[in-house]
Amino acid sequence: MIDIMLMAYRDLSERKARTILTLLGIAVGIAAIVSLVSVGYGMQEAITGELTAFADLITVMPGKFAGMSYVELGSFTDRDIRDIRRIGGVKEVTAMMHGAAEVEYRDERKPVFVFGGDTDALSSFYVEPVGLAEGRWLRENDYKVCVIGNRVATEFFDEPIHVNDKLRINGEKFIVAGVFNKASTLYATDVDPHIFITLRAARDVLGNEKAKYKYITVRVYNINEVEEIAERIEDRINDNHGLDEFATAMTMGSMLERINSVFSILRGVLVGIAAIALVVASIGIMNTMLMAVMERTHEIGVMKAIGAKNRDVLSLFLVESCIVSLMGGLAGCIVGVILARVVSLIVSSVLEIEFVPDVKAGVLLAGVGVAMCVGMLSGFYPARKASKMSPVEAVRYG
């Protein structure tokens, strides 16, 4: 076995250019798989890692998810909130309301989306990850005070808005207490274009019609009970509204499930793309192996003339394509890991998400394995062709 590998190695190093081309074909395919999958895992981990910090959290929404889209069916009432508070194991309940309001600043009027909610809850959702550029966050006993998203402050009105500026929300005077930083992609649509006020202020400012709760967050004492409590919340609210499927209570578990399923689809697509790259590569291998057979017709004839059996020739060529594909696979893994780093750096600076690629040993093993399989399969036909040649004709050739 070692001998046959040595022989194959010699033949390969005699034909460097061709060998390198073949090797490159495989390496590119494997590098694509390894890097894409590793980047995918890394992103998934970064996002799920962030979400597991909220493991004791249940988010209740008045509507349901149909596939990727959300259909709102109504809004929650004060009674819903009271009922949720009474469920055993519930630690705290915060309701949020939101709606479009007319905002006036220095004689300019624009519709802006206003969020009212529990100041602590909003703080942990938005202030902690995004941070404030100026001023301070809302306090529980603030009334006509608001904190505004970065785009509200800098883009919405002709003149920029700063801390202590005054604006009117649906006609009511508010003082700007703080301005958010520009948010990363993950939070941009939630924070940048919005105004945040206290729940008390929201009840008064957002007209009655819209002043109902669109969003309830619940924290539980025991993380292990979170799924069970979420179900009870759904049942209770559905009862209140006389509908079978009115409320959706999401735990991070179910959110993680959704995210994970999105990522596994994404990975499937990426692997599919890489698989196409590999098929192309395998055609390349087959082509170069066929060329090798052609080039070495004479040599094969000589080997058969001095006693090589068909299977000796077959295994020589198979070992050769194995070596090429193994080296290609290994090179692909190395390049893939480097590529994953580079792609991660670019993606994380574009999307402003912190993450490092997660290179799983299984992915590397699979990469090498796939490379070997591709090499064997695409080397088999040329190898067989080589082994079947008649010795006289092959010797006479060339």
Binding site: I2, D3, M7, R10, D11, E14, H298, E299, V302, M303, K304, A305, I306, G307, A308, K309, N310, D312, S390, P391, V392, V395
Partner: protein, 223 residues
């Protein structure tokens, strides 16, 4: 009797044209003979040697090698005959260029599954026997034609076959090197090997104990 050829015929088909290369050839060769085959170009000498050496198959007739009817042998068994019973020496040497002399000589033993250390040892002995011990790490391209042909003879001896077949083994080397090569073949014959060579050169044929002639695919005249 180590080789018996009975009513052998070979017809090459080139499109619609049939070229008869051998017509009803009968030949018996005893173990230990040194036989030269002479004849004009195109008379069928190479065709006959290729069939005896199991490189090619006849259109009709039978060939027995060491008692075995080659027509009844499988593809693998024919490879074994080529590997173990017949050593073939070509006019063009036909060494593998990527391998050095030692590796070329050990190649038939590699196919026979001989252990690496053992076959390298034997290859070295064989190269010494043809006077090329100092050249054993050289590649074919670094050697003269005569030297390459001696490597090819050493390779033909690798699995200690009873029969050595040479198709114009001196055809591509100068007279002096040709005489060295024929000298080696003569020595091998004295050690008991059966030698069959094709040649155009009467001086070369003079090394043989028996000379037969061919013309138009037929054997005639023995001297």
């Amino acid at each position: 009797m180590i080789i018996r050829v009975e009513h052998l015929s070979k017809v090459y088909r080139m499109g619609k044209v049939e070229v008869p290369a051998l017509r009803d050839v009968n030949l018996e060769i005893e173990e230990g003979e040194f036989l030269a085959i002479m004849g004009p170009s195109g008379s069928g000498k190479s065709t006959l040697l290729n069939i005896i050496g199991c490189l090619d198959k006849p259109t009709g007739g039978r060939v027995f090698i060491d008692g075995a009817n080659t027509a009844s042998l499988s593809e693998n068994e024919l490879a074994e005959v080529r590997r173990d019973k017949v050593g073939f020496v070509f006019q063009q040497f036909n060494l593998i260029h990527s391998l050095n002399a030692l590796e070329n000589v050990s190649l038939p033993m590699f196919f026979a599954g001989v252990k690496r250390s053992e076959r390298l040892k034997r290859a070295e002995e064989l190269l010494a026997k043809v006077g090329l011990r100092e050249r054993m790490h050289h590649k074919p391209m670094e050697m003269s034609g005569g030297q390459q042909q001696r490597v090819a003879i050493a390779r033909a001896l690798a699995n200690d076959p009873k029969i050595i077949i040479g198709d114009e083994p001196t055809g591509n080397v100068d007279t002096e090197a040709g005489n060295v090569i024929m000298g080696i073949l003569g020595d091998l014959n004295r050690e008991g090997k059966t030698i069959i060579v094709v040649t155009h050169d009467p001086g070369i044929a003079a090394h043989a104990k028996r000379v037969i002639r061919m013309r138009d695919g037929r054997l005639f005249g023995e001297e």
